[in-house]
Symmetry: C2
Subunit: 193 residues, 2 copies
Amino acid sequence: MHTASSSLIQSMNKIVKISPSDYEPILSYFKKTKLRKKDYLLEASQTSTSLYFVSTGCLRMYFIRENGDEKTTYFALEHWWIADFLSYTLSQPSSFYIQAVEKSEVYELTNENQERLLAAFPNLERYFRLNLQHAYGAAQYRIKYQFAFNKEETFLHFKSLYPQFVQRVPQYMLASFLGLTPEYLSELRKKKN
Amino acid sequence: MHTASSSLIQSMNKIVKISPSDYEPILSYFKKTKLRKKDYLLEASQTSTSLYFVSTGCLRMYFIRENGDEKTTYFALEHWWIADFLSYTLSQPSSFYIQAVEKSEVYELTNENQERLLAAFPNLERYFRLNLQHAYGAAQYRIKYQFAFNKEETFLHFKSLYPQFVQRVPQYMLASFLGLTPEYLSELRKKKN
DNA sequence: CGGGCCTTTGACTGGTTTCAACTTCTGTGG
DNA sequence: CCACAGAAGTTGAAACCAGTCAAAGGCCCG
């Protein structure tokens, strides 16, 4: 019963039809993990060997610049997938960290288990493909926005899209995600509302 | 015989095994198109209803800013796929143009034909999934580099990765791809060889 | 050979960063 | 549960990276 309400199964059911009798078998390929704030799922120089589906909470992906400060490149909220997909695809060391921004719960799918899962349930290929297609499309627009807007516009645009999220994470993370300094973000916040 | 040497079939064969007897049937879902320099495959406000595989030549994706100047966000060389994947996935109008940078040849796969193709050859799901995974991974690193480097470093990094490509496209396109002005790129070129 | 587009050059400008000092928030141990 | 140390956020001044603008030069293609 409660497996039917699993957020992961729900996510899959939006894209492909899954018979309730398959819920348990499918979930058996995943490992459900609870994370405390600041726990890590991946650290730079490790290879990203798993995909993570965020059930509850919020994770982020970031890297550390030569001068030592960190830049957040991606946030994953409930029902989003997160991984360094280049590292995962090519089995090469990552230059990213993946960390829980808050208390979170994720489903982990290792590389090997993904292979087994897809061998057992080939129709899930479609689920992963369409998810990636959507995520890649979003990344194309992310890149577009970086070119289209200056820093102030970037902030206003983001705030209008995700007004509640701006409150959810520390400002220094948000600043580095938007590509500006915490000081300047602070200035922009008071300026325009 | 010459279908075996099709660059598209080659690309597929790197990821999934395809029987030679399937070459023709698979290719029948695609439309091969020749493009002259500056021909368009997509214009802003249209919906991206096809995926394109670049057989020969070079395409680019760009958009036009409010002030009127164009920003190139992506180049696709031989054996790469190009499309506005968000527009394609959600059937919503694109804000991008896709244009041939030089004389090119592409395989077009419409949305409907992709569905039919995958219904007929389900193992190609894996081909598209892994391609998207790779492309998305590359986009994650693209975003990383934009944060990691200043403009001069961006240029030097790109030049070291693709020394030949720098010669292949007009400098104003390269400049907008790297996120700087043609004037500043010109300055960087003479500065550090 | 000519016209228009691309590239270069230089001066000026300003959006954004950097730095440092101060204030406010937060969480952890006694 | 309170205190306090470290982290996070704010403020203002100074510096600079990179954009803008304008004009001249080069080059490609009809």
